[in-house]
């Protein structure tokens, strides 16, 4: 009893602001202790289990010879390279898919979104059907389907489709002519660079002139024409700066040229069309969030439709579109891991093979997490910067 009384006296003596902080401190200490206990238990279990199963730990395996073949790689790779390098090839493949996936999905998504709000009934219904179908089936199913199309629907190499001379479509891949750069190519590259700088400068000048005097120079057209004309002229003047290495049928398969494997085609098609449906919805809700009054007002001021879209609707729609689209970009990157299901060697697929060979799952999964989080962090940073630029600046 005296102990209880002592406690109650102490409780009365403690000032109220301290009372809550004492309990919360105690609670937190308990939580920390529990976590440490659990972590300790897990660690000791893990160690025992790893020893019992004869699994090594640590990242030493990364420098060992991998011995696994990789079908699609951007960089030169052979099975005698190390596990670390193989994993790196996986990272480059993931980044490759992610980058082109994001660019293409954005383009198609914008088209879908605009088609969805079109005042053409047929077009908007078609876009709606597209969105509702693609958003309500699993991506993996779509990938299986595109992969079976790329393998089954396309003919064997001997009966390749040739939509353009030098281009071949068959079930081993899509073959392009490969450009071989001659020394003269650098002049063309220089011409491209110069024309880009010129277009940039003239656009700046036109903007300033417009702000100062109201005169309008068709700067976009001027820039565009320069960017086409200058490199074309250089190309014409210099002896062929690029020779094309065509793919030719030798035996059962094509040799030479550039090839895109069916795994990549299938993964890309599936990812892009799936994500484009989501981005299309974002674009639609963004455009519809701009009130009609804004458009009417800008029409009343006599702005042409294009300018209304560019200067009035788009800046306001982007504020709604960007945050949602950031999420879709990160899910596209994460979804690219489904490559493992159709045999495209991305990071997860190569990591999975490594786990199969040496059982070092913990290390590989840690590496996966680190890479995905870094990519997603970079996407978020870039998109947040972009978002900050289009936000309304409050007074």
């Amino acid at each position: 009893m005296p102990l209880l009384r002592l406690a109650s006296v102490l409780k009365k003596l403690t000032p109220p602001f301290l009372k809550s902080s004492v309990t919360s401190l105690a609670l937190q200490i308990i939580v920390v202790a529990l976590i440490f206990y659990a972590a300790h238990g897990l660690l000791s279990n893990t160690q025992e289990n790893l020893e019992a199963r004869n699994i090594a730990s640590g990242f030493g395996f990364l420098s060992l010879e991998s011995g696994m073949p990789i079908g699609n790689s951007l960089l030169p790779y052979s099975p005698i390279d190390s596990y670390g390098y193989a994993f790196f090839i996986g990272i480059t493949n993931t980044l490759y898919v992610a980058f082109f996936g994001i660019v293409l999905a954005t383009l198609i998504g914008i088209i879908i979104g605009i088609a969805r709000v079109s005042n053409n009934w047929l077009i908007s219904k078609l876009a709606e059907i597209y969105v509702e179908v693609l958003r309500n089936i699993p991506l993996l199913l779509l990938l299986f389907f595109t992969y079976s199309l790329a393998l089954v629907a396309l003919p064997i190499p001997r009966k390749s489709l040739t939509p353009l001379p030098g281009f071949f479509l068959n079930n081993r891949g899509i073959y392009f002519p490969r450009p071989v750069f001659e020394p003269g190519f650098w002049f063309v590259a220089l011409a491209v660079l110069v024309s880009i700088v010129f277009a940039f400068v003239i656009h700046r000048y036109a903007t300033r002139l417009h702000r100062r005097t109201g005169r309008v120079i068709p700067s976009l057209w001027l820039g565009f024409i320069t960017m086409v004309a200058l490199p074309a002229m250089t190309w014409w003047l210099i002896e062929p700066p690029i020779v094309w290495n065509f793919a030719v049928l030798k035996g059962f398969n094509f040799k030479g040229g550039l090839v895109i494997r069916p795994e990549f085609t299938a993964l890309m098609t599936g990812l892009v069309f799936y994500t484009a449906a989501f981005i299309g919805e974002n674009v639609r809700s963004g455009i519809q969030s701009v009130s009609v009054g804004q458009i009417n007002a800008s029409k009343a001021l006599g702005l042409p439709t294009g300018v209304t879209m560019r200067k009035v609707v788009l800046p306001q729609a982007l504020r709604v579109i960007i945050p949602a689209t950031t999420n879709d970009y990160t899910s596209l990157v994460k979804n690219s891991s489904l490559a493992v299901a159709i045999g495209y060697p991305d990071m997860v697929s190569i990591g999975g093979t490594i786990i199969g060979q040496n059982d070092q799952a913990i290390e590989i999964i840690a590496m996966w997490m680190a890479v995905y989080m870094t990519i997603n962090l970079i996407i978020s940073l870039v998109m947040n910067w972009f978002n900050a630029k289009v936000q309304l600046i409050g007074r």
């Binding site: 919360s24 609670l27 937190q28 939580v31 920390v32 976590i35 238990g41 897990l42 279990n45 893990t46 025992e48 289990n49 790893l50 019992a52 199963r53 699994i55 079109s118 005042n119 053409n120 009934w121 047929l122 077009i123 078609l126 509702e132 179908v133 958003r135 309500n136 089936i137 699993p138 991506l139 993996l140 199913l141 299986f144 389907f145 079976s148 089954v152 994460k334 979804n335 891991s337 489904l338 493992v340 299901a341 997860v348 999975g352 786990i355 799952a361 913990i362 999964i365 996966w368 997490m369 995905y372 989080m373 997603n376």
Partner: protein, 360 residues
């Protein structure tokens, strides 16, 4: 003479009725006319062959006969789907016990419709949803007098629905705890919850499934052994709870602070403020987003094929590779897409209708 207005002239013929509608919606400008023509040509070229493939030229024979699906036929071979129907729905579940998953499904549908049509009181419904999984599990798995059915025999659509339903049900409480923890004043709890949520949301579901099926056995003490299905289910619950936590957080943020202040000034303890005032309102706000998560999770359960479970998509793929029925990939995938689409689309329409009515 009194001025008497003449009756109004009827509107010009080309601005009313069908012609008016067509002019307004299909040919309002040059660009629109061009687009309409292109779309019509596209539909003209695409729809008739598609219909004749899927319906008119297709083989609808219920059971396999000699010339049901001969290679000369150009239509779809739905006989293949009818033949494989049991496997697609229930996996390798033994035929003599099929009444058990069917009964389970009927009960599940009943509870779903009770929820949709709001026949029971909310509290009763919630209790029902959280109690029901246990008897239903016993019904499918066996035990208590029923013969045990190995979990490796479960599969098909039954498994997909099971994984998604249990995943959502279990992850809602976990997600609420994580969301409350994220808003806690206790710095340790807050950091813990944030890092859990963000690290799960930062990685693809596949890595989490790999983790659950490969790493979980390494973490657990000797002798404590889950089967693959349970491990994958745990992975799905963890994955889903991080996303649900973010959804719930959105609802919590929408509660004006005045509500909490008013409740505290009435003398309610803190957990009572949360339990009686904040949470009911927050959850009510986020029901449409929760249904969105259900759709997403149901689609995501198809990934379990990668860690070796044969769910609906897995069974579709396995059936398409059956040597007796080669060349029916397209039929299999189309059927699979149709079923997923019907389920997901009706769920998202339900979510939208709740959002429109702004009440559950």
């Amino acid at each position: 003479m009194i001025y008497k207005p003449l009756p109004d002239l009827p509107p010009p013929l080309e601005s009313v009725g069908l012609i008016g509608w067509i002019k307004e919606n299909l040919f309002s400008s040059k660009l629109n006319s061009l687009l309409t023509i292109i779309a019509t040509v596209f539909l003209w070229k695409a729809v008739p062959p598609l219909l004749s493939w899927a319906i008119f030229d297709a083989s609808w024979a219920l059971s396999s006969t000699e010339n049901a699906c001969s290679p000369e036929k150009h239509g779809a071979c739905w006989t293949f789907i009818f033949e494989k129907f049991r496997v697609l729905m229930f996996g390798l579940y033994p035929e003599q016990y099929l009444w058990r998953p069917i009964l389970t499904f009927v009960i599940f549908l009943t509870v779903c419709s009770l929820t949709i049509f709001r026949i029971l009181r909310t509290k009763l419904l919630i209790t029902l949803w959280f109690i029901l999984p246990l008897p239903l599990f016993l019904l499918i798995n066996g035990g208590m007098g029923l013969d045990i059915v190995e979990q490796s025999l479960w599969g098909g659509l039954m498994l997909s629905i099971e994984l998604a339903a249990i995943g959502i049900l279990m992850s809602i409480p976990l997600g609420i705890v994580l969301a409350l923890g994220r808003r806690s004043d206790l710095i340790v709890v807050k950091t813990l919850c944030i890092s859990a949520i963000e690290s799960i949301r930062g990685v693809p579901l596949i890595t989490i499934l790999f983790m659950a099926s490969v790493m979980l056995p390494i973490f657990l003490p000797e002798g404590m052994n889950f089967n693959n299905l349970l491990r994958v289910q745990i992975g799905i619950i963890l994955f889903s709870s991080a996303y649900i936590a973010e959804v719930v957080r959105g609802g919590l943020q929408a509660i004006p602070p005045g509500q909490i202040e008013a409740a505290s000034s009435l003398g309610l303890k803190r957990w009572k403020v949360t339990y009686l005032v904040v949470l009911p309102q927050a959850l009510h706000h986020v029901i449409p987003s929760l249904i969105g998560r259900c759709v997403a999770l149901f689609k995501d359960t198809s990934l379990v094929i990668i860690v070796g479970l044969l769910d609906f998509l897995g069974m579709i793929k396995a059936s398409a590779q059956d040597p007796e029925w080669l060349g029916n990939d397209t039929e299999a995938y189309v059927f699979c897409a149709l079923i997923y689409w019907i389920i997901c689309f009706s769920m998202s329409q339900y979510g939208k209708s709740i959002e429109r009515r702004n009440q559950w």
